[in-house]
């Protein structure tokens, strides 16, 4: 489909909104916009971080998901207790593919579900005793864990358990860091508040633990915050930083350890990949320890080169030369990849709908491949994310906040993109519609996508998806004729 004009795009939004009742329509209209590069501040034209309209199909998660799943879960030597009924932990276990190096159940605990499994009596009489007992059991079974975090599920907040008291008492007893996190799912409108709560817990219980301990530092110490090592992302990023002469002290929530986090206040620069989920702690460290922070983007060679130079500008000439050396070293390989895939992907249109960062971060990578992003939106972004997005997107493209299942399908039906990048909840609907789809939360069981090495995988995956002949053979079950033949069964 050819490019839309501003009027056409606006008409499309209005047409899609037509089915809603008056009140819902008014509310949803504030969350959809046509991009206008001249606008500096997104709040004038898009509303974000607001409660979803009841009755629509939202893709959002909860505060517990943001805290346990995103920030705390990937720290490998901390045991995260899902404190409450068994389901929250069981259904959020291991779906995110944040890799770690270690032995599961011995010194790493990312992919194990620990839960206090609340029963009726725990709701009636409180779960504090059970939590204390659970911590003792954990200590006996997994002595090599470095710390424990208590991730509250909804009932804990509702019945008013005092998990802080238990944590303090047990911390004194067993001598390990025990962090109570008040991330009950009912808090806030999406997982975004969970990130904030988790960051605050890190600030209160971890970050200052080693303030008075000696640390052998170098002038080139950095920490990677907010890279979740999905399919090995953080490793692909780390080697670039090390190659240019920096020393990566901590990887935080992506193959990170408690000791790394405690040492982070000693670094010279905090590197922030996922701004949405980790900016809180970076701001805190900037105020308390005077560590500057920097947002960077390791998707696609153009943005990587830009980011490497940006990072190097905070250091001396040795690092600046290092950055140029790294860029020069990988440029021929990147050019070869672009030469291979660009002809196959040139001009293809992409629509994105991911969490709080990737809709803007991956735009550069798609553009390197000659693809064009015609729509982008976030599940749980705030206005500052949209400020940043509007600069990246072309004029008259669609921007949608907390898009509903219906709206998204309708946009896709009308705009006919060649590729959709979104999450697992949208995946199968679009598969059935026969639209090429990549899961951009966990890279569809592939990865890494960060760094120069990651771009090679990214380009291959996009080509593999867009140019796959299977899509034309699919017909949605609801479009199938009565007398459909057996060969369509696979759809």
């Amino acid at each position: 489909m050819s490019e839309l004009t501003r009027e056409q795009a606006q008409a499309l939004i209005e047409e899609v909104l037509e089915v809603y009742p008056e009140k819902a329509k008014k509310d949803r209209a504030k969350h959809l916009m046509v991009n206008d590069k001249t606008i500096e501040q997104s709040k004038k034209c898009i509303t974000s971080n607001r409660k979803s309209v009841p009755g629509v199909m939202t893709q959002r998660g909860c505060a517990y998901a943001g805290s346990k799943g995103v920030v705390w879960g990937p720290i490998k030597d901390i045991i995260d207790i899902s404190h409450g009924p068994v389901g929250c932990g069981a259904y959020s276990r291991g779906g995110r593919r944040n890799y770690y190096a270690g032995t599961s159940g011995v010194d790493s605990f990312c992919d194990i579900n620990f839960t206090s499994d609340f029963q009726e009596k725990d709701i009636v009489f409180g779960g504090d005793k059970k939590l204390a007992k659970l911590i003792d059991e954990l200590e006996g079974l997994f002595p090599l864990s470095k710390g424990i975090s208590v991730q509250s599920e909804c009932p804990v907040g509702l019945i008013g358990d005092d998990i802080e008291a238990v944590a303090k008492k047990k911390q004194a007893e067993i001598g390990k860091v025990i962090v109570p996190v008040r991330c009950e799912g009912f808090r806030g409108v999406s997982q975004s508040l969970g990130h904030h709560i988790a960051n605050d817990a890190v600030r209160d219980w971890i970050i200052s633990n080693r303030d008075d301990k000696a640390f052998e530092s170098t002038p080139y110490d950095v920490a990677i915050l907010g890279d979740y090592n999905i399919g090995g992302d953080a490793w692909a990023s780390r080697i670039l930083l090390e190659e240019m002469g920096l020393r990566v002290v901590a990887q935080w929530s992506g193959d990170g350890t408690l000791a790394e986090m405690e040492n982070t206040p000693k670094v010279k620069l905090n590197l922030l990949h996922c701004y949405r989920s980790m900016n809180y702690i970076a701001r805190h460290m900037e105020e308390k320890y005077a560590i500057p922070w920097l947002e960077y983007n390791f998707f696609g060679p153009t943005k990587i080169a830009e980011s490497l130079r940006d990072i190097a500008s905070h250091f001396d000439d040795k690092i600046k030369e290092g950055a140029e050396r790294v860029i020069a070293k990988y440029t021929p390989a990147m050019n070869a990849i672009i030469a291979k895939y660009k002809p196959r992907l040139q001009g293809k249109k992409v629509m994105l709908y991911v969490g709080g960062l990737r809709p803007r971060h991956t735009i550069g990578a798609y553009e390197d491949l000659g693809m064009e992003v015609i729509g982008a939106g976030y599940e749980f972004a705030h206005n500052d994310d949209y400020d940043r997005t509007m600069k990246e997107m072309k004029d008259a493209t669609l921007i949608y906040d907390d898009v509903t299942g219906y709206e998204f399908e309708e946009f896709v039906r009308q705009l006919k993109p060649d590729l959709i990048g979104s999450g697992i909840k949208e995946k199968y609907a679009f598969h059935k519609m026969g639209v090429p789809f990549r899961q951009l939360h966990s890279w569809d069981y592939s990865g890494p996508y960060h760094g120069f090495d990651g771009f090679a995988v990214f380009a291959r995956d996009m080509d593999m998806t867009v140019n796959n002949p299977c899509w034309g053979m699919l017909k949605a079950p609801w479009l199938k004729e009565e007398e459909s033949t057996g060969e369509l069964k696979a759809a």
Binding site: Q41, K43, H196, Y280, R283, E287, A290, N383, D384
Partner: protein
């Protein structure tokens, strides 16, 4: 009253951050900006107006202070 953080932005100006509501904006004007007296009424790029009780100028930014919203949308 709300806790806000004032930091130096990349372009050299001041920026305003309200963690509780996740509002980030540029500070267009600040009433007092001398070594002895710093704060007072601050005006934001989005039209908001906040009041910080004047204090001696902070040794370094960012700094977290209590502020009162005087005017403008949140």
């Amino acid at each position: 009253m709300a806790n806000i953080m004032v930091r130096k932005s990349a372009d050299g100006g001041l920026s305003f951050y309200l963690p509780k509501r996740d509002i980030e904006d540029s500070i267009t004007s600040i009433e007092f900006d001398t070594p002895e007296k710093w704060g007072g009424e601050i005006r934001l790029g989005n039209g908001g107006v906040y009041f910080i009780d004047p204090i001696p100028a902070p040794a370094r930014l960012p700094i977290s202070v209590r502020a009162r919203r005087v005017d403008g949308v949140e």
